[in-house]
């Protein structure tokens, strides 16, 4: 069961990150993104913390996010991520896709209106 949830989480991490950054409306670093995703999921989705970074970097390569280093030399520097316009558009597409999928699954399993 845990592996099934893992597979579902892997497929939805990108949209979860995009939605988080839209809702929070401020640049966030990787640790804060994980912390807030974990809080939103109330611990149900167990994020292997380090794996958020390859995902963030791929999203940046795809133009969904942009990043910049913040902090002065000699202090702790952080790489902060913000959403791009392409990321916002991608989120709209993914949200519609997810809503359709969710509705169809509910219908398939007879959970509609339950």
């Amino acid at each position: 069961m845990a592996s099934q949830i893992d597979q579902m989480r892997k497929g939805t991490t990108t949209v979860a990150i995009l939605k988080l950054l839209v809702d929070e409306d401020e640049p966030l670093h990787g640790y804060e993104i994980i912390r807030r995703l974990d809080a939103r999921g109330e611990g149900y989705f167990h994020f292997k913390e380090g794996l958020i970074y390859p995902r963030l970097h791929r999203m940046e390569q795809d133009g969904l996010l942009e990043s910049r280093w913040v902090g002065e030399p000699g202090t702790r520097r952080r790489k902060m991520y913000t959403l791009t316009e392409k990321g916002r558009q991608q989120l709209e597409v993914e949200m519609r896709r997810w809503q359709t999928f969710s509705r169809q699954m509910d219908q398939l399993l007879g959970l509609e209106g339950a």
Binding site: H29, G30, Y31, K48, E49, G50, L51, Y53, P54, H57, R58, Q61, W69, G71, E72, P73, G74, T75, R76, R77, R78, K79
Partner: protein, 178 residues
């Protein structure tokens, strides 16, 4: 890059933090999975270092001692998987960047040669070249393309230096056949 470099002040971390060496040991395990250019690895490890330091600090705030806090942070982190995934995420891009980085100075040099020499093969002269907007467009491209494309300021400076070196060589030894 060694793990020790990860806590170097130049990396922007907090070297005085007492658990830094243990965090570096974890980072070294990640680094062992990477085979990217030095600057890319430095950036990746600096980002991961900040994460681990935050995670250890949070665990300590919950009352764990230093060793257990680090063990918990490392366990939640997924050290080996992260290294493999980061390598997979960046290796292709590093190659593409390398091709562009190598090709750009060559392209700039070819355009420069076209600008510096008149059709009869004589050098047009510094004054005339420096007055040509096309010269400055190429010069700025040699600086800004690597900076904005990668973004890698070291590439940009090397490309910029290469461009000016080629300019000087073209003017100083115009008889050399290129």
């Amino acid at each position: 890059m060694s793990a020790g470099q990860a806590s170097d002040p130049a990396s922007g971390s907090s070297p005085a933090w007492e658990g830094a060496s243990q965090v570096d040991a974890v980072l070294e395990q990640v680094r062992a999975q990477l085979d990217l250019d030095a600057e890319m690895e430095h950036d990746l490890l600096a980002e991961l270092q900040g994460h681990l330091e935050d995670a250890v600090a949070a665990a300590r705030a919950r009352g764990l001692d230093e060793e257990r806090a680090l063990a918990e942070a490392a366990a939640c982190f997924g050290v080996e998987e992260v290294g493999r995934e980061l390598q997979a995420a960046h290796v292709g891009w590093g190659t593409a960047d390398g091709v562009v980085a190598a090709g750009l100075p060559v392209l700039c040099a070819l355009i420069l040669r076209w600008l510096v020499f008149a059709p009869d093969g004589t050098v047009v002269g510094w004054r005339e070249v420096l007055m040509r907007p096309a010269f400055w467009v190429v010069a700025l491209a040699a600086l800004l393309v690597p900076l904005l494309r990668f973004p890698r300021w070291r590439y940009a400076l090397v490309s910029w230096a290469f461009f000016w070196a080629m300019s000087v060589i073209f003017f100083a030894w115009p008889a050399v056949q290129w």
